[in-house]
């Protein structure tokens, strides 16, 4: 009796409740999110990703609080601000940091399971390949979308409360549009991550491939941005004629596609980060006009579908014995 355990340690059959099949993907997504949140790097990059909003908040609060208007009435500096362009700019700037988060939490999502044979655990349970893919997709999509959404909504709330007289909410669809564009990085990175990750057995290799896929076109499109500005500031008629083509090439990268779709959604080409922006040598900021909305949206969706499809083809019930 002295050595008896306190609890009954013999085997007992489980006869408790069981959830339906519709919740399986959520269990998978939930674990992916929990594992992502355990990483310190995730929090660091998540906080950093909204840095442009913090700068804007600080600048606008400083202008509003400490710089008196030279003329009676509205402050001319704030009146000159195109507010939706501030969201567009912040969205563009956050792309690189959101990519780092995707690299951190997404590229190993299936590759690590491949390495650890964890697919056997998933697929031998009553969850389908679709549950697994959706769960993994959501496990990347939800954190990135939340990281993108929080500073955006905070800035929207601050602007809506402080600068309504400066036309902050001139478009009543601005909030739904902002929510929609905040979903873009999550959707694209989730699709790319699960597609690339499913091709490898190691998260690091998947991450390296994903980085290559991101940065090679990224350098190219940034170069196209420079070319566009130079051509715009030049009087050469041939250069002017090729502006549209160069402008479209600017959107030919992972972040370019997202920027393109976001511009199409917000219906803006963008503007200087602050009014009067330009270089001291006289080169004026020239916003690249938004691409064809339908075309860029179709390309965006096609990329998401193709990479999700790769994951669908690659994930299969592996050897059992």
């Amino acid at each position: 009796m002295k050595n008896s355990p306190i609890a009954d340690l013999s085997y007992r059959h489980y006869d408790g409740p069981l959830n339906g099949g519709a919740t399986r993907w959520w269990s998978i997504a939930k674990l992916s999110i929990q594992l992502a949140m355990k990483k310190k790097g995730f929090w660091v990059w998540a906080v950093l990703s909204g840095y442009w909003y913090y700068i804007l908040l600080a600048v606008f609060w400083f202008v509003e609080s400490f710089i008196p208007s030279p003329v009676p009435g509205k402050h001319p500096l704030l009146s000159a601000i195109i507010w939706k362009d501030q969201f567009s700019n912040a969205f563009n700037i956050s792309q690189l940091l959101l990519f780092v988060i995707a690299l951190l939490i997404g590229t190993g999502t299936i590759a690590n399971d491949n390495r650890a044979n964890a697919l056997l655990v998933y697929l031998s349970k009553p969850c389908t390949k679709l549950d697994y893919i959706i769960g993994k997709w959501m496990g990347v999509f939800i954190p990135i979308t939340i990281v993108s959404l929080i500073p955006t909504l905070f800035f929207f709330a601050y602007g809506g409360l402080s600068f309504q007289e400066y036309g902050f909410i001139s478009d009543w669809w601005l909030l739904p549009k902002l929510v929609l564009i905040c979903c873009l990085p999550g959707a694209l990175h989730a699709s790319l991550c699960i597609g690339i990750s499913s091709l490898f057995n190691q998260g690091r290799i998947a991450g390296a491939v994903y980085s290559g896929l991101f940065f090679l076109p990224w350098f190219f499109t940034k170069a196209m941005q420079v070319v566009y500005v130079v051509l715009s500031n030049n009087d050469n008629p041939k250069g002017k004629a090729s502006l549209k083509f160069v402008g479209n090439l600017y959107y030919a990268s992972m972040d370019g596609i997202q920027i393109g779709v976001s511009k199409a959604i917000l219906n803006t080409g963008g503007s200087a980060l602050f009014p009067g922006g330009g270089s001291p040598r006289g080169t004026q900021f020239v916003p690249i006009p938004p691409p064809n909305g339908t075309a860029i949206t179709v390309i965006f969706i096609a990329i998401c579908v193709i990479f999700s499809g790769i994951a669908w083809l690659r994930v299969r019930a592996v050897e059992v014995v």
Binding site: A7, L9, S10, Y11, R12, H13, Y14, D15, G16, P17, L18, N19, G20, G21, T23, R24, S27, I28, L31, L35, K38, N112, D113, R115, A116, N117, A118, L120, V121, Y122, L123, S124, K125, P126, C127, T128, A317, E319, V320, V321
Partner: protein, 305 residues
Amino acid sequence: MKLIDIKNLTVRYRTFTALRDFSCEIEEGCTGLLGPNGAGKTTFLKTLLGFVTPTEGGGTVLGLNIATDGRMIRQSIGLMPEQECHIPGLTAVGYVAYAGELAGMPADQAIRRAHEVLEYCGLGEARYRNVETFSTGMKQRTKLAQAMIHGPKLLLLDEPTNGLDPTGREDMLSPIRDISHGKGVNVVVSSHLLPDIERVCDRVVVVMGGQLRTQGSIKDLKHLSGRPYDVDLREPNEQFIANLTQQGATVEALKYTSLRVITNREPSESVKLILETAKNCGARVRGLTPAERSLEAAFMEVINS
């Protein structure tokens, strides 16, 4: 009751036929799945789980059609794979509870049950450690725990004692034996280790070349035809052998002073004949048991036939 009923199952991978006209019936209890590498055990288990669509034939597991009810079958089955298959970054209790959630258990029930099954599998003290830090034996028992978390009616255990030392084997086989006898859980154990199969299983299914070679109880498989008896004498006695031979018995010398005696009489008559002959010849009998062969010998005979 038939647990698994497979009829004329053929599974092809393009041009390669992994299972050919395979039929078998597995009853409740603990059954061993035996066969050399490439025999078709893998494909058989994959087909039971609904991973592979049969080319021809079909069957049922727990009354569910293997071709159409894969998800429902997996709800009632627990698989312990041969390979390491932990989920990186999880503790044992987190991993097993997660397996329970994948099987549909609510999170609070899954975590409670995970503690129970880990305790049952002898991992109570280590359950908060990361699975990646476990020894091979502990990983094997964690896999067993994740397979039984949702209370399956059938457990498929693939090489459960692979890579374990004798103590680890005992720690693994004890719960398997326990759960499959009197706990209402049926077990199919795929293993190359015949002593392990003999220790925990009541029946075996022998597969080779994608076809069923034999199936039945281990007792029947080990049974020798002709009702032989093994007689262990205190010292050799030639007259005893000669007298038995004179009375129509076949006597075969085994190791040391043991003999295998085969008569064509009823068991009680055979025993009477052996003991009376020994008495008449002055042979001192140390032991008299119905003869049976080892499972290994039976397996080799089936494989080589």
